[in-house]
Amino acid sequence: MSAAISSDDNLFRGAHHPVAFQRNVFRRAKFMKLYWDANTPRLIEASFVWDRYAPTQALVHAYGCRVSSRRNRRRPNDRDVYCGAYHLKVSHVRGLEATVGLPEVATSDLVPQIEDNEVAHVNCVIRLRDDADEDSIEGVKTVIVARLWNGCRGPLTHTCHMDTDLVPHPSNRLETPPLGMYLDDRSVALRAWCLARYWLLMLARKVQSRYRAESSL
């Protein structure tokens, strides 16, 4: 399944308030939050949106607003606000395992993983070498965050319909990464192809799920 993701594909990472902020200041490590299990400290994960299933900025933002909406249903007293997204290439994630000065990373890849019924969700899975010094893992996390942040472009700010009451909106506080703003440099023909592929994929998925439902009856 991983092979389906091309290194030229695009990824987006949503920025949410307060998750990506600390005392209302945007923090790149909180934005690029890495997950790991205490029992498997050498396995680090992060979530992204794959443009195969979100080929337009509107679809990327719709994804972010849905995530925010779900979080607010789960924790109504801790309001989550989707502020926008940052772009980076798949090659930036996969390139971690060949980064000079980062020998601790054994593999780094992306795995499509439907989460909360979101087909565009992909899991970034970074495995550290078994001989990587456990005391150094915190420093390795900083390197990973720094390298991913250095591959980001954006932010693509956005205000969800449900957050129009927020003045000022926390998206004003998003930071511009070193590579600068994101520019969708795809040709019109490529954008049309990506959009057509998206609708075909969604249609195929719909048919598939209906077939499964009928088969189970």
């Binding site: 790149r28 909180k30 309001r79 000065g101 915190e138 390197v143 004003n172």
Partner: protein
């Protein structure tokens, strides 16, 4: 500073002890908490060969942990200021943890047995109180008038304030009650205070701070084209200089690194990539 100590070799073990005379507060707490109290707007503690950092525990107002050159005090010295009036409590962190000295009266402050020398003074608007200790028990205090602060030079107010903000940010990270993912562990908190104190001592602009979770704190400076990160865990200080081109520099210091850590931090003062301190955090309309 001497070598072969714990932590990042920044402070020595202070081994502060509280003797209890003329101080209202009880004896030193088991967690080795140094607490100085008094009226006035500035409190200064000089501690030979040891870094101290402070915070203001009441009202969540940070007190400053910034060193300055004192007349004849010797060693590493810090000034802590606070905006409040009346009695103020200051808490100082040392290499060995936190030490409490108690709440002194206005005239006689402390009676402590310390190793090495502690020299501290609490100037008020019209004068000040000085108390000194050394390696043997000292039971007396002087209360000379300090006029206009001409006897010593203070760090810039902005520098002091910025490190107070950093201290508050670290304290916030340590005191998070409802977010276990981001609440930093106490050894990490203490280590980050030590590094912060060393940076303040070397007059390095305040970094921004973030964490990966409970096990580390990251200090970050952003330059025009490069970022410097210090990742502080309980047993390591990891250094990273990163740019869009790649990893420019990466190294680690452990407790055994001794003077190398100190030399590295001293060298930071002249590094071009460290930008001026960022502006204060201000709330948004939420």
């Amino acid at each position: 500073m001497a070598s072969s100590q714990t932590g990042y070799q920044l402070p020595l073990n202070a081994l502060l002890a509280y003797n209890g005379n003329d101080v209202a507060a009880p004896a030193m707490q088991s967690n080795n908490l140094l607490r100085l109290s008094g009226s006035g707007t500035t409190l200064t503690v000089a501690h030979s060969g040891t870094n101290l950092s402070f915070f203001h525990p009441s009202e969540g107002v940070a007190v400053i942990a910034a060193p300055y050159q004192h007349h004849g005090g010797g060693g590493t010295q810090f000034v802590a200021t606070h905006p409040g009036e009346g009695t103020t409590t200051i808490t100082a962190y040392t290499a060995s943890g936190i030490t409490t000295l108690g709440s002194p009266s206005t005239e006689t402050f402390l009676n402590v047995n310390t190793t090495p020398i502690i020299y501290a003074e609490v100037p008020t608007e019209h004068g000040g109180t000085v108390f000194t200790t050394n390696t043997s028990m000292v039971s007396s205090c002087d209360t000379p008038s300090i006029s206009g602060g001409s006897q010593f030079s203070l760090p810039s107010e902005q520098h002091v304030r910025s490190y107070a903000e950093l201290h508050q940010a670290l304290t916030d990270l340590h005191s998070l009650s409802d977010d276990a993912d981001w609440k930093i562990q106490t050894p990490v908190y203490c280590a980050s205070l030590q590094v912060a104190a060393a940076l303040a001592e070397k007059n390095i602009p305040k970094p921004s701070v973030f964490t990966h979770g409970a096990r580390s704190v990251v200090f970050n400076w952003s330059g025009n084209d490069v970022d410097l990160y210090l990742t502080i865990s309980k047993s390591r200080l990891s250094v990273l200089v990163s740019s869009t081109k790649g990893i420019e520099y990466r190294t680690e210091f452990s407790p055994d690194s001794g003077e190398d850590t100190n030399r590295f931090l001293s060298a930071l003062r002249s590094v071009r990539l460290i930008a001026p301190p960022e502006t204060s955090d201000t709330p948004i309309g939420r």
